[in-house]
Amino acid sequence: MNTNSTRYTFVFAIIVCVVSGVLLSVFSEGLRPQKELNEELDVKRNILKAVVLKEPVAPKTKAADVLKVYDSKIEEVVIDDKGNVVEGKKPKQLTGKDTNLFPLYLYKEGGQVVAYAFPVVGQGLWSTLYGYLAVEADATTIRGITFYKHGETPGLGGEIEKEWFQNNFKGKTIYSLKDHKLTPTIVVKGKAADVVSKDELSYHVDGITAATLTGKGVTDLMDRWVRVYDAYLSKLRKI
């Protein structure tokens, strides 16, 4: 057999393409339900992490138990750009076309809302950062933040997924009661305490060494989403 003839080469190339094409589609389609389940579970885990549950779920908790906690503690609603709750809509039903509708997650304990959580998405240095931000019932104080998906450099920008970075946000305020203006959290270069005055510490957090641009990405996404959700949150503040 002449394996170098043009005809053979073409036939061989087509066979290779078809075989690998079929193989990949089978893997991709066959595993799709399982993959989607994982992603949904990951999102729910992170919402639970952002709202800082009174009884936190352990990292190794089984999927079914996580979903049970989620269903009992979190209420999912959809709001529009005026900050009104859209009745009868669930975050799951939102598509790319719904640019004026936003998902909102209410964390309730004994019928009382403890925290409001919403997704924050934006560009970092290399990748899109995905996270959730949760504010206390006062609609002003940050209760927790989590970044669960990104492609930043491990050890540098990748530090945004670490506890120490996320803990810096806790207790910061997104609204200044004194000046009556929004104060989305800003990630500074270096230590916040060295860079800004004491009054401004309420909305500045420490940066990550050698990851200034990832920090800038976080600043930008905070600014964007705090403003979007302020339509809803501003109605809750008692001023």
Binding site: F27, Q34, K35, D42, P154, G155, L156
Partner: protein, 210 residues
Amino acid sequence: MGEALLSSKNQKILKDGFWDTNPITFQILGICSALAVTTQLKTALVMSLGLTFVTAGSNVVISLIRNFIPSQIRIIVQLTVVSALVISIDQILRAYMFDVSKQLSVFVGLIITNCIVMGRLEAFAMGNPPWKSFLDGLANGAGYSAVLIIIGIIREIFGSGTLLGYHVIPASVYAQGYVNNGMMVLAPGAFFLLGIIVWIQRSISGYKES
């Protein structure tokens, strides 16, 4: 089979890949990933496992069809086999080991472009039977892994003060004024380490410039 599974010839294949012609220190292949994933030991370990698996697996597949591949398009065929293998693994990880797949993120895809995989296919699997090719892939993967793990350990300890995420440098040392070495986290730190490792390995193995 006229030959034992681990005959002296096959043992030599293993030793060559791991030591005498180590892909990193002798062939100077796979340097980019050796820099990129070694800031932490964990990612270095995972990358090592992934690359060893892919090199061994694609070596076997290519070796099985080596007599049928038209030589003009052999590189493309190799690349297709490697990509299909890597993407399949990625899909399986996403479905059944979601946590692992999240940590790997971009690294799995990077295996496709790792020069060691293509290098072994061209240099070995195209001209040798499947079992020998499998051993060759395994040995080269192990040789690559050994270097990555050494660099990963050193960089994580001195760059972040941790090992596999656990603090190994006590807080009292920091209190004395010790700071983590920022260079270790960046690429130059890896370059220096890599150079030193190549130097040491070559002096021991008796490498001569040809």
